[in-house]
Protein backbone atom coordinates (compact mmCIF):
# COMPACT_ATOMS: atom_id res chain seq x y z
CA UNK A 1 0.00 0.00 0.00
CA UNK A 2 2.77 2.34 0.93
CA UNK A 3 3.93 3.04 -2.56
CA UNK A 4 4.65 6.73 -2.14
CA UNK A 5 7.82 6.41 -0.07
CA UNK A 6 10.03 9.43 0.32
CA UNK A 7 13.14 10.30 2.29
CA UNK A 8 12.33 13.21 4.54
CA UNK A 9 14.00 15.45 7.10
CA UNK A 10 12.24 17.64 9.70
CA UNK A 11 10.22 20.36 8.05
CA UNK A 12 9.69 18.55 4.76
CA UNK A 13 6.14 18.57 3.47
CA UNK A 14 5.18 14.91 3.07
CA UNK A 15 1.85 15.58 1.43
CA UNK A 16 -1.15 17.85 1.68
CA UNK A 17 -4.81 17.08 1.88
CA UNK A 18 -7.20 15.25 4.17
CA UNK A 19 -4.89 12.71 5.79
CA UNK A 20 -4.66 11.61 9.39
CA UNK A 21 -1.21 12.43 10.81
CA UNK A 22 0.31 9.45 12.62
CA UNK A 23 3.85 8.92 13.96
CA UNK A 24 6.41 11.66 13.47
CA UNK A 25 4.24 13.96 11.41
CA UNK A 26 2.26 17.05 12.27
CA UNK A 27 -0.54 18.87 10.53
CA UNK A 28 0.39 22.46 9.75
CA UNK A 29 -2.41 24.24 7.93
CA UNK A 30 -3.22 21.90 5.07
CA UNK A 31 0.24 20.37 4.86
CA UNK A 32 1.55 17.30 6.62
CA UNK A 33 5.07 17.95 7.83
CA UNK A 34 7.68 15.41 8.89
CA UNK A 35 9.25 15.93 12.31
CA UNK A 36 12.05 13.38 12.05
CA UNK A 37 14.66 12.12 9.64
CA UNK A 38 13.15 9.05 8.06
CA UNK A 39 11.06 7.45 5.37
CA UNK A 40 7.54 8.72 4.82
CA UNK A 41 4.69 6.38 4.01
CA UNK A 42 1.32 7.47 2.71
CA UNK A 43 -1.60 5.13 3.25
CA UNK A 44 -5.24 5.48 2.15
CA UNK A 45 -6.16 7.94 4.85
CA UNK A 46 -3.07 8.36 7.01
CA UNK A 47 0.55 9.41 6.80
CA UNK A 48 3.50 8.42 8.91
CA UNK A 49 7.27 8.71 8.98
CA UNK A 50 9.43 5.78 10.00
CA UNK A 51 12.29 7.38 11.90
CA UNK A 52 15.90 6.44 11.18
CA UNK A 53 17.28 7.86 14.41
CA UNK A 54 16.17 8.71 17.91
CA UNK A 55 15.77 7.36 21.39
CA UNK A 56 13.23 4.81 22.49
CA UNK A 57 9.96 6.30 23.68
CA UNK A 58 7.85 3.80 25.66
CA UNK A 59 4.57 2.70 24.12
CA UNK A 60 1.90 0.66 25.91
CA UNK A 61 2.14 -3.09 25.18
CA UNK A 62 5.72 -2.93 23.92
CA UNK A 63 7.97 -5.81 24.88
CA UNK A 64 11.20 -4.40 26.29
CA UNK A 65 14.36 -5.73 27.86
CA UNK A 66 15.13 -3.94 31.11
CA UNK A 67 18.06 -3.95 33.47
CA UNK A 68 17.44 -3.59 37.20
CA UNK A 69 19.24 -0.50 38.45
CA UNK A 70 17.85 -0.23 41.97
CA UNK A 71 14.92 -1.06 44.17
CA UNK A 72 12.99 0.45 47.03
CA UNK A 73 10.91 -1.55 49.52
CA UNK A 74 7.94 -1.42 47.13
CA UNK A 75 9.28 -1.51 43.62
CA UNK A 76 12.20 -2.01 41.24
CA UNK A 77 13.58 0.57 38.89
CA UNK A 78 14.62 -0.63 35.46
CA UNK A 79 16.84 0.92 32.85
CA UNK A 80 14.88 0.47 29.63
CA UNK A 81 17.20 2.43 27.34
CA UNK A 82 14.84 5.38 27.33
CA UNK A 83 14.74 8.83 28.87
CA UNK A 84 12.35 7.46 31.49
CA UNK A 85 12.93 4.79 34.15
CA UNK A 86 10.79 1.67 34.05
CA UNK A 87 8.79 1.18 37.24
CA UNK A 88 8.10 -2.42 38.29
CA UNK A 89 5.89 -2.67 41.41
CA UNK A 90 6.66 -5.53 43.81
CA UNK A 91 3.04 -6.63 43.82
CA UNK A 92 3.46 -7.62 40.20
CA UNK A 93 6.04 -10.23 41.16
CA UNK A 94 4.92 -11.36 44.62
CA UNK A 95 1.18 -11.20 44.02
CA UNK A 96 -1.58 -9.45 45.93
CA UNK A 97 -0.45 -10.69 49.34
CA UNK A 98 2.87 -8.91 49.08
CA UNK A 99 4.00 -7.45 52.35
CA UNK A 100 6.97 -5.20 52.89
CA UNK A 101 7.90 -7.11 56.07
CA UNK A 102 7.78 -10.67 54.81
CA UNK A 103 9.12 -10.31 51.29
CA UNK A 104 12.57 -9.16 50.36
CA UNK A 105 12.70 -7.70 46.87
CA UNK A 106 16.30 -8.63 46.22
CA UNK A 107 15.40 -12.32 46.62
CA UNK A 108 13.61 -12.19 43.26
CA UNK A 109 15.48 -9.60 41.22
CA UNK A 110 18.90 -8.18 41.99
CA UNK A 111 20.57 -5.09 40.65
CA UNK A 112 22.02 -5.90 37.25
CA UNK A 113 19.50 -8.61 36.39
CA UNK A 114 17.96 -8.53 32.94
CA UNK A 115 14.20 -8.73 32.64
CA UNK A 116 11.89 -9.26 29.72
CA UNK A 117 8.93 -7.01 30.46
CA UNK A 118 5.92 -5.36 28.94
CA UNK A 119 4.97 -1.70 29.21
CA UNK A 120 1.68 -1.88 31.14
CA UNK A 121 0.93 1.80 31.29
CA UNK A 122 2.58 5.01 30.22
CA UNK A 123 1.44 8.56 29.94
CA UNK A 124 3.20 11.87 29.98
CA UNK A 125 2.62 12.50 33.68
CA UNK A 126 4.32 9.40 35.09
CA UNK A 127 7.20 7.04 34.44
CA UNK A 128 6.29 3.92 32.46
CA UNK A 129 4.70 1.16 34.53
CA UNK A 130 6.09 -2.26 33.72
CA UNK A 131 4.71 -5.75 34.18
CA UNK A 132 6.35 -9.16 34.04
CA UNK A 133 3.25 -11.21 34.90
CA UNK A 134 2.66 -12.74 31.54
CA UNK A 135 3.83 -15.69 29.52
CA UNK A 136 7.44 -15.43 28.29
CA UNK A 137 8.10 -12.48 30.57
CA UNK A 138 10.27 -12.30 33.64
CA UNK A 139 13.88 -12.62 34.60
CA UNK A 140 16.29 -13.66 31.88
CA UNK A 141 18.60 -16.35 33.22
CA UNK A 142 21.06 -16.82 30.42
CA UNK A 143 22.05 -15.18 27.19
CA UNK A 144 24.05 -12.31 25.81
CA UNK A 145 22.78 -8.76 25.62
CA UNK A 146 23.25 -7.08 22.25
CA UNK A 147 22.43 -3.40 21.98
CA UNK A 148 21.18 -2.11 18.65
CA UNK A 149 19.70 1.16 17.52
CA UNK A 150 16.00 1.50 18.38
CA UNK A 151 15.16 2.53 14.84
CA UNK A 152 16.56 -0.73 13.48
CA UNK A 153 14.38 -3.04 15.57
CA UNK A 154 11.72 -3.41 12.82
CA UNK A 155 14.46 -4.33 10.34
CA UNK A 156 15.78 -7.02 12.67
CA UNK A 157 12.32 -8.50 13.00
CA UNK A 158 11.72 -8.27 9.27
CA UNK A 159 8.45 -8.68 7.41
CA UNK A 160 6.22 -10.89 9.59
CA UNK A 161 9.31 -11.89 11.57
CA UNK A 162 11.15 -13.26 8.52
CA UNK A 163 14.57 -11.87 9.40
CA UNK A 164 14.62 -13.03 13.00
CA UNK A 165 13.18 -16.44 12.10
CA UNK A 166 15.96 -16.91 9.61
CA UNK A 167 18.61 -16.04 12.20
CA UNK A 168 17.00 -18.32 14.78
CA UNK A 169 16.71 -21.24 12.37
CA UNK A 170 20.22 -20.72 11.06
CA UNK A 171 21.88 -20.76 14.45
CA UNK A 172 19.52 -22.64 16.77
CA UNK A 173 19.60 -19.62 19.04
CA UNK A 174 16.68 -18.11 20.91
CA UNK A 175 16.45 -14.37 20.37
CA UNK A 176 14.32 -12.02 22.46
CA UNK A 177 13.96 -8.60 20.89
CA UNK A 178 12.98 -5.67 23.04
CA UNK A 179 11.36 -2.76 21.25
CA UNK A 180 13.83 -0.55 23.10
CA UNK A 181 16.74 -1.84 21.04
CA UNK A 182 18.06 -4.36 23.52
CA UNK A 183 18.24 -7.92 22.29
CA UNK A 184 19.03 -11.04 24.29
CA UNK A 185 20.51 -14.01 22.46
CA UNK A 186 20.84 -17.42 24.06
CA UNK A 187 22.08 -20.59 22.48
CA UNK A 188 23.43 -23.90 23.66
CA UNK A 189 26.40 -23.92 21.35
CA UNK A 190 28.99 -21.18 21.57
CA UNK A 191 29.37 -21.15 17.82
CA UNK A 192 25.66 -20.52 17.22
CA UNK A 193 25.70 -17.78 19.82
CA UNK A 194 28.53 -15.87 18.23
CA UNK A 195 27.01 -16.36 14.79
CA UNK A 196 23.61 -15.05 15.88
CA UNK A 197 25.27 -12.13 17.63
CA UNK A 198 27.24 -11.33 14.51
CA UNK A 199 24.10 -11.50 12.38
CA UNK A 200 22.25 -9.08 14.67
CA UNK A 201 25.15 -6.67 14.66
CA UNK A 202 25.25 -6.90 10.89
CA UNK A 203 21.56 -5.97 10.67
CA UNK A 204 22.28 -3.00 12.92
CA UNK A 205 25.13 -1.76 10.76
CA UNK A 206 23.73 -2.53 7.33
CA UNK A 207 20.03 -1.96 7.92
CA UNK A 208 19.74 0.25 4.85
CA UNK A 209 21.02 -2.33 2.35
CA UNK A 210 18.25 -3.72 0.15
CA UNK A 211 19.36 -7.35 -0.15
CA UNK A 212 20.32 -7.67 3.50
CA UNK A 213 18.30 -10.88 3.88
CA UNK A 214 20.47 -12.65 1.28
CA UNK A 215 23.61 -11.25 2.89
CA UNK A 216 22.64 -12.58 6.31
CA UNK A 217 21.63 -15.91 4.78
CA UNK A 218 25.04 -16.26 3.15
CA UNK A 219 26.73 -15.43 6.42
CA UNK A 220 24.66 -17.97 8.32
CA UNK A 221 25.28 -20.64 5.70
CA UNK A 222 28.96 -20.21 6.30
CA UNK A 223 29.79 -18.46 3.06
CA UNK A 224 32.16 -15.67 3.89
CA UNK A 225 30.58 -12.40 2.93
CA UNK A 226 33.75 -10.34 3.20
Amino acid sequence: MADKRKYVIPGDVVTSGPFRPEQNVILEGNNIIATAVGISEIYDDSVKVIPLTGKYLPKIDDLVIGKVVSHTSLSWELDINSCYIGFLPAMDVFGRDFSTHADELSSKLKTGDLVAARIANFDRTRDPLITISDRDLGKIDDGVLVKISTSKVPRLIGKKGSMIQMIENGTNAAVTIGQNGWVVVSCESAEGLSKAKKAIEMVNEKAHIANLTDLIKDMLDGKDES
Binding site: N24, T35, A36
Partner: protein, 244 residues
Protein backbone atom coordinates in the same frame (compact mmCIF):
# COMPACT_ATOMS: atom_id res chain seq x y z
CA UNK B 1 44.62 34.49 10.68
CA UNK B 2 45.33 38.05 11.76
CA UNK B 3 47.27 38.37 8.52
CA UNK B 4 44.56 40.33 6.75
CA UNK B 5 45.02 44.05 6.22
CA UNK B 6 42.88 46.14 8.55
CA UNK B 7 42.84 49.12 6.24
CA UNK B 8 41.51 47.16 3.30
CA UNK B 9 38.72 48.31 1.05
CA UNK B 10 35.54 46.59 2.21
CA UNK B 11 33.73 47.00 -1.09
CA UNK B 12 35.44 48.01 -4.33
CA UNK B 13 33.91 49.82 -7.30
CA UNK B 14 33.07 46.49 -9.03
CA UNK B 15 30.99 45.32 -6.09
CA UNK B 16 33.62 42.86 -4.88
CA UNK B 17 34.15 42.51 -1.13
CA UNK B 18 37.38 42.26 0.84
CA UNK B 19 37.56 38.50 0.50
CA UNK B 20 36.58 38.45 -3.17
CA UNK B 21 32.89 37.69 -2.75
CA UNK B 22 29.96 39.41 -4.44
CA UNK B 23 27.51 41.31 -2.25
CA UNK B 24 24.96 38.48 -2.13
CA UNK B 25 27.38 35.59 -1.97
CA UNK B 26 27.86 33.57 1.22
CA UNK B 27 31.18 32.09 2.23
CA UNK B 28 32.03 28.47 1.50
CA UNK B 29 29.83 26.33 3.75
CA UNK B 30 30.37 22.65 4.56
CA UNK B 31 28.09 20.80 6.97
CA UNK B 32 28.55 17.22 8.13
CA UNK B 33 25.96 15.38 10.21
CA UNK B 34 27.18 12.90 12.79
CA UNK B 35 30.81 12.27 13.62
CA UNK B 36 30.71 12.10 17.41
CA UNK B 37 30.21 8.55 18.62
CA UNK B 38 29.29 9.22 22.24
CA UNK B 39 26.75 11.97 21.58
CA UNK B 40 23.17 11.09 20.61
CA UNK B 41 23.46 13.48 17.71
CA UNK B 42 26.21 15.68 16.33
CA UNK B 43 27.19 17.98 13.51
CA UNK B 44 30.28 19.77 12.25
CA UNK B 45 30.17 22.95 10.23
CA UNK B 46 32.75 24.94 8.35
CA UNK B 47 31.34 28.34 7.57
CA UNK B 48 34.09 30.25 5.83
CA UNK B 49 36.89 30.16 8.38
CA UNK B 50 34.55 29.26 11.23
CA UNK B 51 34.86 25.70 12.47
CA UNK B 52 32.22 24.55 14.92
CA UNK B 53 31.40 21.19 16.46
CA UNK B 54 28.01 20.51 18.05
CA UNK B 55 26.98 17.57 20.22
CA UNK B 56 23.42 16.85 21.34
CA UNK B 57 22.37 14.63 24.23
CA UNK B 58 18.89 13.63 25.13
CA UNK B 59 16.11 13.58 25.84
CA UNK B 60 17.51 12.53 29.19
CA UNK B 61 17.03 12.94 32.93
CA UNK B 62 17.29 16.45 34.25
CA UNK B 63 19.94 17.18 36.82
CA UNK B 64 19.49 19.11 39.05
CA UNK B 65 15.94 17.75 39.46
CA UNK B 66 14.33 21.07 40.34
CA UNK B 67 15.02 22.36 36.82
CA UNK B 68 12.72 19.80 35.27
CA UNK B 69 9.27 20.74 34.09
CA UNK B 70 6.34 18.35 34.39
CA UNK B 71 4.60 19.89 31.40
CA UNK B 72 7.40 19.85 28.89
CA UNK B 73 11.00 19.02 28.26
CA UNK B 74 13.63 21.69 28.59
CA UNK B 75 16.32 22.75 26.18
CA UNK B 76 19.75 23.66 27.46
CA UNK B 77 22.36 25.17 25.21
CA UNK B 78 26.00 25.85 25.94
CA UNK B 79 27.93 27.91 23.43
CA UNK B 80 31.62 27.84 24.17
CA UNK B 81 34.68 29.17 22.37
CA UNK B 82 37.92 27.29 22.62
CA UNK B 83 40.87 29.30 23.97
CA UNK B 84 42.60 28.80 20.60
CA UNK B 85 39.59 29.80 18.50
CA UNK B 86 40.59 33.45 18.25
CA UNK B 87 43.81 35.39 17.60
CA UNK B 88 44.65 36.10 21.20
CA UNK B 89 44.06 33.36 23.74
CA UNK B 90 40.53 33.52 25.07
CA UNK B 91 40.02 32.68 28.72
CA UNK B 92 38.08 29.44 28.80
CA UNK B 93 35.52 30.56 31.38
CA UNK B 94 32.12 31.53 29.92
CA UNK B 95 32.15 35.22 29.12
CA UNK B 96 29.22 37.62 29.08
CA UNK B 97 29.12 37.26 25.30
CA UNK B 98 29.03 33.45 25.40
CA UNK B 99 26.21 33.45 27.95
CA UNK B 100 24.21 35.76 25.72
CA UNK B 101 24.81 33.66 22.61
CA UNK B 102 23.83 30.48 24.48
CA UNK B 103 20.58 32.16 25.38
CA UNK B 104 19.75 33.47 21.92
CA UNK B 105 20.56 30.14 20.27
CA UNK B 106 18.36 28.35 22.80
CA UNK B 107 15.50 30.71 22.11
CA UNK B 108 16.02 30.40 18.37
CA UNK B 109 15.79 26.59 18.54
CA UNK B 110 12.85 26.38 20.94
CA UNK B 111 10.10 27.15 18.40
CA UNK B 112 11.35 24.29 16.24
CA UNK B 113 11.98 21.56 18.81
CA UNK B 114 8.87 19.70 20.00
CA UNK B 115 9.89 19.46 23.64
CA UNK B 116 6.32 18.94 24.83
CA UNK B 117 6.65 15.32 23.70
CA UNK B 118 9.19 14.64 26.44
CA UNK B 119 7.97 16.04 29.75
CA UNK B 120 10.41 15.91 32.69
CA UNK B 121 13.44 15.56 30.46
CA UNK B 122 16.17 17.76 29.08
CA UNK B 123 17.83 18.07 25.71
CA UNK B 124 21.38 19.35 25.98
CA UNK B 125 23.15 21.05 23.11
CA UNK B 126 26.87 21.62 23.41
CA UNK B 127 28.45 23.97 20.90
CA UNK B 128 32.22 24.20 20.70
CA UNK B 129 33.71 26.88 18.48
CA UNK B 130 37.08 25.58 17.32
CA UNK B 131 37.87 28.53 15.09
CA UNK B 132 36.01 31.83 14.89
CA UNK B 133 35.80 34.30 12.04
CA UNK B 134 32.63 36.33 12.48
CA UNK B 135 29.11 34.99 12.31
CA UNK B 136 29.70 32.13 14.73
CA UNK B 137 26.26 32.40 16.28
CA UNK B 138 24.60 31.81 12.92
CA UNK B 139 26.92 28.95 12.03
CA UNK B 140 26.42 27.45 15.51
CA UNK B 141 22.64 27.68 15.23
CA UNK B 142 22.71 26.06 11.79
CA UNK B 143 24.87 23.19 13.05
CA UNK B 144 22.86 22.78 16.25
CA UNK B 145 19.72 22.28 14.23
CA UNK B 146 21.40 19.57 12.13
CA UNK B 147 22.70 17.89 15.29
CA UNK B 148 19.21 17.89 16.82
CA UNK B 149 17.78 16.25 13.71
CA UNK B 150 20.63 13.72 13.85
CA UNK B 151 19.71 12.94 17.46
CA UNK B 152 16.18 12.17 16.30
CA UNK B 153 14.55 14.84 18.40
CA UNK B 154 11.17 15.74 16.86
CA UNK B 155 11.26 19.11 15.18
CA UNK B 156 8.64 21.15 13.38
CA UNK B 157 11.29 22.44 11.02
CA UNK B 158 15.01 22.95 10.64
CA UNK B 159 16.48 26.28 11.66
CA UNK B 160 18.92 27.84 9.21
CA UNK B 161 20.81 31.01 10.05
CA UNK B 162 23.05 33.53 8.36
CA UNK B 163 23.98 37.16 8.97
CA UNK B 164 23.25 40.02 6.66
CA UNK B 165 24.64 43.50 7.17
CA UNK B 166 25.61 46.86 5.82
CA UNK B 167 29.08 47.65 4.56
CA UNK B 168 30.05 50.80 2.62
CA UNK B 169 26.34 51.79 2.48
CA UNK B 170 25.44 48.52 0.76
CA UNK B 171 23.39 45.63 2.12
CA UNK B 172 25.43 42.44 1.98
CA UNK B 173 24.96 38.78 2.81
CA UNK B 174 27.12 36.80 5.27
CA UNK B 175 29.21 39.26 7.24
CA UNK B 176 32.75 38.09 7.92
CA UNK B 177 35.03 39.19 10.74
CA UNK B 178 36.50 42.24 8.96
CA UNK B 179 33.10 43.44 7.78
CA UNK B 180 31.75 42.95 11.29
CA UNK B 181 34.55 45.05 12.80
CA UNK B 182 34.60 47.83 10.22
CA UNK B 183 31.09 47.63 8.74
CA UNK B 184 28.04 49.70 9.58
CA UNK B 185 25.57 47.02 10.62
CA UNK B 186 25.35 43.31 11.35
CA UNK B 187 22.08 41.40 11.48
CA UNK B 188 22.01 37.68 12.32
CA UNK B 189 18.83 36.02 11.02
CA UNK B 190 17.56 32.60 12.05
CA UNK B 191 14.77 31.21 9.89
CA UNK B 192 12.57 28.14 9.62
CA UNK B 193 12.41 27.65 5.85
CA UNK B 194 9.35 25.42 5.54
CA UNK B 195 7.24 27.25 8.09
CA UNK B 196 8.58 30.58 6.84
CA UNK B 197 9.10 31.94 10.32
CA UNK B 198 11.98 33.94 11.77
CA UNK B 199 13.31 32.62 15.10
CA UNK B 200 16.37 34.82 15.57
CA UNK B 201 16.78 38.45 14.67
CA UNK B 202 19.41 40.67 16.16
CA UNK B 203 20.81 43.94 14.91
CA UNK B 204 24.01 45.72 15.75
CA UNK B 205 24.32 49.05 13.96
CA UNK B 206 22.07 51.67 12.42
CA UNK B 207 19.77 51.08 9.45
CA UNK B 208 16.98 53.11 7.87
CA UNK B 209 13.57 51.38 7.79
CA UNK B 210 14.07 50.59 4.08
CA UNK B 211 17.53 49.18 4.68
CA UNK B 212 16.17 47.18 7.60
CA UNK B 213 13.54 45.52 5.42
CA UNK B 214 16.07 44.79 2.71
CA UNK B 215 18.50 43.40 5.28
CA UNK B 216 15.87 40.96 6.61
CA UNK B 217 14.98 39.89 3.06
CA UNK B 218 18.63 39.30 2.16
CA UNK B 219 19.11 37.32 5.39
CA UNK B 220 16.06 35.13 4.72
CA UNK B 221 17.28 34.44 1.18
CA UNK B 222 20.65 33.47 2.62
CA UNK B 223 18.96 31.10 5.06
CA UNK B 224 17.35 29.30 2.12
CA UNK B 225 20.84 28.64 0.74
CA UNK B 226 22.04 27.38 4.14
CA UNK B 227 18.93 25.19 4.43
CA UNK B 228 19.77 23.37 1.21
CA UNK B 229 23.17 22.50 2.69
CA UNK B 230 21.59 21.29 5.95
CA UNK B 231 19.31 19.10 3.89
CA UNK B 232 22.27 17.75 1.95
CA UNK B 233 24.20 16.97 5.14
CA UNK B 234 21.32 14.91 6.56
CA UNK B 235 20.61 13.22 3.23
CA UNK B 236 24.28 12.29 2.90
CA UNK B 237 24.34 10.65 6.29
CA UNK B 238 21.01 8.84 6.20
CA UNK B 239 20.19 8.26 2.56
CA UNK B 240 23.72 8.47 1.15
CA UNK B 241 23.73 5.31 -0.93
CA UNK B 242 20.05 5.10 -1.66
CA UNK B 243 18.13 6.39 -4.59
CA UNK B 244 15.23 8.69 -3.91
Amino acid sequence: MGGRDATMVLLDENGIRCDGRKIDEPRRIMIKAGGLKNADGSAYIEFGDNKILVGVFGPRDVHPKHMSNTDTGILRVRYHMEPFSVGERKRPAPSRREIEISKVIKEALEPAVMLEKFPRTAVDVFIEVLQADGGTRCAALTAASVALADAGIPMRDMVAAIASGKVADTIILDVNNEEDQAGQADMPVGYMPSLKKITLLQLDGVLTPEEYKKCVDVGVKGCEIVYELQKKALHDKYFGNRKD
